[in-house]
């Protein structure tokens, strides 16, 4: 049974520095990070334990900033995906990741959703983690012990579970400028056109060599296992080959085989497996096409 929010006992805190936020979170085990709250408030309404303190990260400039030093982008963990989608540099260098960012909910949600929230919420069906992972994104994490940097792939450890320690928050993401002839793509399957949770998500990043053969490939699937799964067999099948024909068939088969899905209200094992293969194949095709176009332009 769902509940109204019983929030009169809850305290709202809006630190303006990372250190303050870490202190607040470290001092109270029932404190919760409040970024977009697009998942948090519905979760509380559905009966999750209520936090005592909501620590709003959105007044910390560093967490909302998007910048680049020419070789690496730094994207605040709470930067609204609407801003990410409107960022020309990111859109040009990471079209798939930006598409994935734009798929999180409605325009209303886009004002609030962020990579940090999407990753730290640790839903297996989250849209951006597969794309963050194929792009080798790193998460800068701050906590009582200072800052550390880990691969985005290492943050979520299971449904609702992360490797973040007590009092730790994701501060920002680092993304290296991709090499030449490289592009990514993300596709997801939802029953409607909008407003749904992914039944399957597939991200691919492809680097082509001068002959159009695949020089590097990364494929990651969402909503088909407790955490995002990479598909090394598909990646291996692509390397050194043109991304077409039988090779794509191998990608599809490997992706389907790499899944470990569940039956739930949103999908069945068989459906998720079959469609994961289809979306992985299509994502590879789109990424490769984009990479080739980059080659044409350069």
């Amino acid at each position: 049974m769902g509940y109204d929010l019983m929030l009169s006992a809850m305290r709202y805190a809006s630190p303006t520095t990372v250190a303050e936020a870490v202190d607040l979170l470290g001092s109270d085990p029932a404190a919760r990070v409040y970024a977009g709250a697009t998942d948090l408030i519905p979760q509380i309404r559905a009966g999750r334990p209520e936090p005592t303190v909501m620590v709003d990260l959105k007044r910390i400039d560093r967490l909302c900033a998007i910048g680049s030093n020419g070789s690496t982008y730094t994207v605040g963990a709470a930067a609204p995906t609407a801003d990410i989608c409107g960022h020309d540099g990111l859109a040009a260098d990471f079209p798939g990741l930006v598409e994935a960012s734009g798929l999180i909910g409605s325009d209303q949600i886009q004002s609030r959703s962020s990579w940090g929230g999407n990753l730290a919420n640790a839903s297996p069906a989250a849209d951006t983690p597969p794309s963050l992972i194929v792009n080798d994104a790193r998460a800068v994490i701050a906590g009582p012990g200072g800052e550390r940097t880990v691969a985005a792939a290492d943050v979520a450890t299971g449904p609702g579970q992360t490797s973040l320690g007590p009092g730790e928050i994701i501060v920002e993401f680092e993304l290296d400028q991709p090499p030449a002839r490289t592009a990514d793509a993300y596709l997801r399957l939802i029953p409607r056109t909008e407003m749904d949770i992914a039944v399957v998500g597939a991200a691919a990043r492809i680097t082509l060599d001068g002959d159009g053969n695949v020089a590097a490939a990364a494929i990651a699937l969402g909503a088909v296992a407790p955490t995002v799964v990479r598909v090394p067999d598909a990646e291996a099948a692509l390397i050194g080959n043109l991304p077409s024909g039988e090779v794509l068939g191998a990608v599809e088969a490997a992706a389907a085989a790499a899944t470990n899905p569940i039956d739930d209200k949103r999908g069945t094992v068989a459906y998720r497996r079959q469609v994961a293969g289809v979306l992985a194949r299509r994502a590879v095709s789109i990424a490769a096409e984009r990479a080739a176009q980059q080659g044409d332009q350069s």
Partner: protein, 753 residues
């Protein structure tokens, strides 16, 4: 686009003025139920069962009562006992459980406290001890031998021979005509198909809400949104054991209903809490509560067998329909039986329909109740037969369509109806022959709904300045104020913007039945016309006095009293001139109309759906949609189109993605708009609405109800289009990507019949 049979030309009827309540609604000032607050009000929260089926052993409210801010706690014991033979027994024990809970979300107690948080905390502190009983969650489980009984007293009504033992089958309905065996013997082609469908929710955006203020004098005022405030009054009175006159219900604006607000849930609880606390009590459901505890339309299992001659004449039909209306008896099976063969000439038929109870929320009416499901079965089978016989699907339907004089399933001959006109309108629309792209398909389907009359009241008051107020008892659920004003303008000859249409409360206007059965513009419109015609008689009399002539020499023309006698020229008198002298000619100008409306005209609709299927994922996207419907006469064509378009959207959602999902204990798994997937704007194309006008001879302006029929054809139209695109016949709802892909994969894309 409008296809019109000859009709009189009107000055106002058929025009598209801005609705009178529009300004409030685009500025945020319109007051819906949850927008109302009373001085000193408390907040009420319902305690709901976590079990689908359980005996209530005990309820201990003492902890809750002792909590901060708590002013009242009530349980079923606070209401009079109700006998199972009572006409509204089901409604009564649904609003608050007595000895048993029958579904997850069933109300068992309610709490009122100073704040919502306090009420929420107290609700959680109400201790209910349950003896959990095995839950019956499917039609098959309910009908299995030895199935646990939901209602110990339930004997199947209509059973022949009469039922001797109680069961979960609440009633059986049988219709027949001709000789079934002989009919099938005559047939050149016989097909038999089975279908299953799941419960779906009406999905109105406004959750149920009310405020009740019970005074020390034992009278109460309820502010709430509903499809009929007189029904709120009588149902609340029934539950409380009160006289109706102790209850006044003031209608708030209603944020969608579609049938789901023809019954009540919160109001008696709010009144009882308010009476106990001596303060006003406001109650607002969460979306989660709306899904779990209100409204679904029935789920079904359907089996139909049709026989047809090779020339395309249908000769025999056999239908076995099982509806489940949730935990209580319901009309699904009866209405399914009345609609399944209604649109076609089938000389030999038998229909058997069962209503079965299971441990899920009590069904409420949903737009043309039961009919979309029988249409799903029938119209997809007709599509199959047309293809088999090589006949165009619309021509096949025209060949078999009922027309004036043909007998209905119930035996009576149809009056003038517009079914064939609707079929022709779609056949002649450019959409029907437009080329389709790859992986696209086109489906056509028809739908039928009765529409109903019932009681309505209206009062017309002429104001001192010659403008008019039209008060009716029908909540305005989708533009009916504008329709009332248009008909009044036409009758009185007053500009439509000089008429103020108002929804009166239960003490301000005569009794009016619930807005259901597409009856508001039809029946309440008739009451408005009656009141206006009486007003015109009065106006002519007043004018005669003012002119000093005989009333028989006064005509009412274009908003003026015109002297037609031979005693020279006399200047006509306008409404304003007459009302200005009302004090001197007999007093205020008021007229009422109240009636039981006879002659509701059946509504027919024909839809055409183009869609595209992703053959590798099963995802279906509707790309073009055209819908015709016989409105009789469209009073305000924009809102007629709106009803058609809204019905299409709901039907498409029902076809593709909407369904209640329960876990193995009967707990609803998708009680949110995230996982209960109603269509969003990007899921739909523009919907081309064709208004067909074959006037209903029983209505002064020829109106047929238009609210419901539009939801009937979309499911089969979508199903037929999916078949056209994929070669797969899908006979289970919803036709979700999973089901579509499964069908494509297992059929290898070939004909799935």
């Amino acid at each position: 686009m409008t296809v019109t049979e000859s009709k009189p030309s009107y000055k106002y009827v058929g025009t598209r003025p801005v609705r009178h309540d529009g300004l409030e609604k685009v500025t945020g000032r319109a007051r819906f139920a949850a927008d109302l607050n009373m001085s000193g009000q408390l907040h009420g929260i319902v305690v709901r069962s976590p079990h689908a089926h359980a005996r209530i052993v005990s309820i201990d409210t003492s902890d809750a009562e002792a909590m901060d801010g708590v002013k009242a706690v009530i349980t079923g014991d606070d209401f009079p006992a109700v006998d199972p033979s009572h006409r509204q027994y089901d409604m009564c024990i649904n609003v608050i459980a007595r000895d048993k809970v029958l579904y997850e979300g069933h109300a068992v107690a309610a709490v009122a406290a100073s704040t919502r948080d306090q009420a929420q905390a107290a609700a959680a502190a109400v201790k209910v001890e349950y003896e959990v009983l095995p839950a019956v969650l499917t039609i098959d489980q309910a009908m299995a031998p030895g199935a646990p009984l939901l209602h110990a007293h339930m004997m199947t009504a209509g059973a022949n021979p009469p039922a001797e033992e109680p069961s979960n089958i609440s009633n059986v309905t049988r219709f027949s005509g001709g000789e079934l065996d002989a009919g099938f013997a005559e047939a050149d082609l016989v097909i038999e198909r089975e279908f299953t469908t799941q419960p779906v929710h009406q999905g109105y955006i406004e959750p149920h809400a009310c405020v009740a203020d019970t005074g020390q004098d034992g009278h109460t005022t309820i502010w709430c949104s509903s499809q009929g405030h007189f029904n709120v009054r009588s149902s609340t009175a029934t539950l409380l054991g009160w006289e109706n006159s102790r209850i006044r219900v003031i209608p708030a604006e209603i944020g969608g209903g579609f049938g789901g607000k023809t019954t009540i849930y919160l109001e008696p609880l709010a009144v009882a809490l308010s009476a106990k606390a001596g303060r006003p009590v406001k109650m607002v459901m969460t979306r989660d509560e709306v899904f779990r505890a209100t409204g679904p339309a029935p789920g079904t299992k359907l089996r139909i067998k049709l026989g047809v001659k090779s020339d395309g004449d249908l000769v025999a039909g056999d239908a076995y329909l099982i509806y489940t209306n949730g935990a209580y008896a319901g009309p699904g099976g009866l209405l399914g039986a009345m609609t399944v063969f209604e649109s076609y000439k089938i000389p030999n038929f038998e229909i058997e329909a069962l209503d079965v109870v299971i441990n899920t929320a009590r069904s409420a009416a949903y737009r043309a109740p039961a009919a979309p499901l029988t249409a799903y079965a029938m119209e997809t089978m007709l599509d199959e037969i047309a293809e088999e016989l090589g006949i165009d699907p619309i021509d096949f339907r025209i060949q078999n369509a009922v027309t004036e004089g043909d007998p209905s399933t119930m035996g009576f001959p149809f009056a003038r109806i517009g079914f064939v006109e609707c079929l022709e309108a779609v056949r002649d629309h450019p959409n029907y022959k437009a080329p389709l792209g790859p992986n696209q398909g086109r489906g056509v389907a028809a739908g039928y709904w009765f529409n109903i009359g019932e009681s309505s009241s209206a009062t017309v008051n002429l104001n001192e300045d010659g403008t008019a107020t039209v008060v009716t008892g029908s909540p305005d659920i989708g533009g009916s104020r504008a329709s009332m004003a248009l008909m009044a303008a036409e009758e009185l000859g007053i500009d439509v913007y000089d008429i103020r249409p108002v929804v009166g409360d239960t003490e301000a206007v005569g009794f009016t039945d619930v807005t259901e059965g597409s009856r508001a513009t039809f029946a309440t419109g008739m009451a408005v016309v009656e009141a206006c015609r009486r007003m015109v008689v009065e106006l002519r009399g007043r004018a005669a006095k003012m002119m000093g002539v005989d009333v028989d020499d006064i005509d009412w023309m274009d908003g003026q009293a015109v002297y037609t006698g031979s005693d020279g020229e006399k200047a006509p008198l306008s409404v304003a001139e007459i009302t200005a002298k009302a004090k001197r000619t007999g007093g205020p100008l008021t007229a009422t109309g109240s009636l039981e409306a006879h002659g509701a005209g059946p509504g027919f609709a024909v839809h055409l759906c183009d869609l595209e299927v992703d053959p590798e994922t099963g995802v279906v996207r509707v790309v073009r949609y055209t819908a015709s419907q016989d409105a009789g006469t469209a009073i305000h064509p924009s809102y007629v189109e709106g009803q058609i378009q809204g019905g299409v959207a709901q039907g498409v959602g029902w076809a593709l993605n909407e369904e209640y999902i329960y876990d193995s204990d009967g707990v609803m798994e998708n009680p949110s708009f995230l996982d209960y997937r109603v269509p969003v704007a990007s899921d739909l194309p523009m919907i081309d609405a064709i208004i067909v006008e074959v006037p209903n001879p029983a209505h002064p302006y020829g109106v047929r109800g238009v609210g419901e029929t539009g939801i009937v054809p979309p499911i089969p139209a979508v199903a037929n289009a999916i078949y056209d695109a994929t070669g797969c016949r899908i006979r289970d709802l919803p036709m979700s990507p999973i089901r579509v892909l499964d069908a494509i994969t297992s059929n290898g894309g070939s004909n799935g019949s």
